[in-house]
């Protein structure tokens, strides 16, 4: 019972944080310099692991689907499956989880350290607003970075699949490309981008929220960081289901 109450209280506080961010951006605009700084920071920190994850995911997908399709004489459709899986699901989800582990943890740890060393209180006592200073620019940067990283991840994954298809499976680059173009429609790309946009909001806002709620000194910072990564990753998977459902409804409406 206590857990349920705590969870509802946390959800309430988290929602209020999002409302505060929306209100802040609406009233005060946003510092483009700070947003750009955060975008560069997010990109620098997560691009290598996102690329590695994407390329190996694309390669594994090509291998697995090729052996499955081979039984039905449909090996040429590897590009079709790799492209669809990456554009609609794996690209946005894996990128979000990787960014959550790398950047979400960093954001949560940084804000949590500022909270426990009273720097957040100091901002308020000096007439500043921690939402405007710490949260809004990071959330906007997350909204910009995640779709960009997802785009790069999808392209990298498809190239990884292409490498396996041509070098290992005997499929020509032209066949792979045609199969990909045949399957992946513009709507699938838009679907992936919508998801990555939502995941950017989820990952960064949860990290900021956890950081601001941190209590209990250096031990608290560690716990907050872990909690931000676990909660952020879980939230991405849960949100992915509901977003997929919603997008299917819109697609066939």
């Amino acid at each position: 019972m206590l857990k349920v109450r705590e969870l509802s209280a946390s959800l309430g506080k988290y929602t209020l944080l999002l409302v505060d961010v929306a209100r802040d951006i609406w009233r005060n605009g946003i510092s483009l310099r700070e947003v750009l700084r955060q975008v560069v920071w997010i990109g620098n920190n997560s691009l290598p692991i996102v690329l590695l994850t994407a390329v190996f995911t694309g390669m594994v997908l090509a291998l697995q689907t090729a052996y499955g399709l081979h039984r039905f004489g449909a090996k040429n459709y590897v590009g079709n499956l790799v492209g669809l899986a990456l554009a609609k699901e794996l690209g946005p989800v894996l990128t979000a989880v990787m960014v959550c582990g790398r950047v979400g943890a960093g954001i949560a740890a940084e804000i949590a350290s500022m909270t426990v060393t009273e720097q957040v209180d100091a901002i308020r006592s000096l007439g500043g607003d921690p939402i405007r200073r710490l949260v809004s620019p990071r959330i906007v940067a997350g909204l910009i970075s995640l779709p960009l990283l997802t785009g790069v991840a999808v392209i990298t994954g498809i190239l990884g699949g292409l490498a396996v298809a041509t070098l290992e499976l005997g499929i020509t680059a032209h066949q792979y490309y045609r199969s990909y173009l045949y399957a992946v429609q513009i709507y699938d790309v838009v679907e992936g981008l919508i998801k990555s946009f939502a995941f950017g909001l989820i990952v960064v806002s949860i990290a900021c929220y956890k950081g601001l709620q941190c209590r209990g000194g250096t031990e608290g910072v560690g716990l907050t960081t872990t909690s931000a990564v676990v909660t952020g990753s879980l939230a991405v998977f849960v949100a992915n289901f509901f977003l997929t459902k919603l997008l299917i409804i819109f697609k066939f409406a």
Partner: protein, 250 residues
């Protein structure tokens, strides 16, 4: 003759965290220009009192009046205006790690809308000079000693010329020389600028040196209150606390 109205008043303050009640009907007032030290065992809720006055958290019940204005019902934007008159030195100084000393001291000025960089520069240098740290503008907080960090924190708090100063453990962890410097600054600001000061400390020597008045907080209420010379000897609770014979069930 009409007595000056208090700079700060706390009226029947209750502060609760879940089932734990930290303050149980706390009431006191601070007069203009007075240096008051709040003593009490660890965990008594002394720092929370500073945060209540600063409007960083609301009380569960009761009213906090800053210069006659009830701040308990104000929203964040209104509180920001009230905070312009209050400076706070945090326990660990709470300097912003990523900013230089100059930008730390200038932070409040810029946040409060000052755009004239020449004026900012002049104020920052003046405040750093005041705390005895000229010429360290470019340093990062990580390059400063504990005493220097506290003094930069003090310069930052004083940058917007507050009428009230709140000090949270200003001398904790400092060597005797740095402690003395901080004490002298607290006295100087109160005497020369008429700043009303509330000091939270466990450092009894420092508390004797800087204070006009002591208050002892225990079990959620003020159990002793008065001029230092009077209360230190007249109150058994205070003398027990000062001599280290304090029992929390006192």
């Amino acid at each position: 003759m009409k007595a000056a109205s208090p700079t700060i008043q706390l009226e029947d303050i209750h502060t609760r965290f879940g089932k734990l009640e930290v303050h149980k009907g706390l009431t006191f007032a601070l007069q203009p220009g007075e240096v008051t030290t709040l003593l009490g065992p660890s965990g008594a809720g002394k720092t929370i009192i500073l945060k209540l006055i600063m409007g960083l958290m609301p009380p569960s019940e009761g009213r906090v009046l800053v210069m006659g204005r009830n701040i308990t019902d104000l929203d964040e934007a209104q509180l920001r205006k009230v905070r312009a008159d209050i400076g706070m030195l945090f326990q660990g100084a709470a300097l912003f790690d990523s900013l230089t000393v100059f930008d730390n001291v200038a932070y409040g000025l810029r946040e409060r809308g000052e755009r004239d960089e020449l004026k900012i520069k002049q104020i920052v240098h003046e405040r750093l000079e005041m705390v005895g740290l000229p010429g360290i503008d470019w340093k990062l907080p990580s390059q400063l000693s504990g005493g220097q960090r506290k003094r930069v924190g003090l310069a930052r708090a004083l940058a917007s010329s507050p009428k009230i100063m709140l000090y949270d453990e200003p001398t904790t962890g400092l060597d005797p020389t740095s402690t003395r410097k901080i004490d002298d600054l607290i006295i100087k600001f109160a005497r020369e600028r008429g700043i009303t000061s509330l000091v939270v400390t466990h450092d009894i020597q420092s508390a004797r040196r800087v204070s006009d008045r002591w208050m002892l907080l225990s079990r959620g209420t003020i159990v002793a209150d008065g001029p230092v010379a009077e209360v230190e000897h007249a109150s058994r609770l205070v003398s027990d606390f000062v001599s280290g014979e304090w029992k929390d069930d006192a």
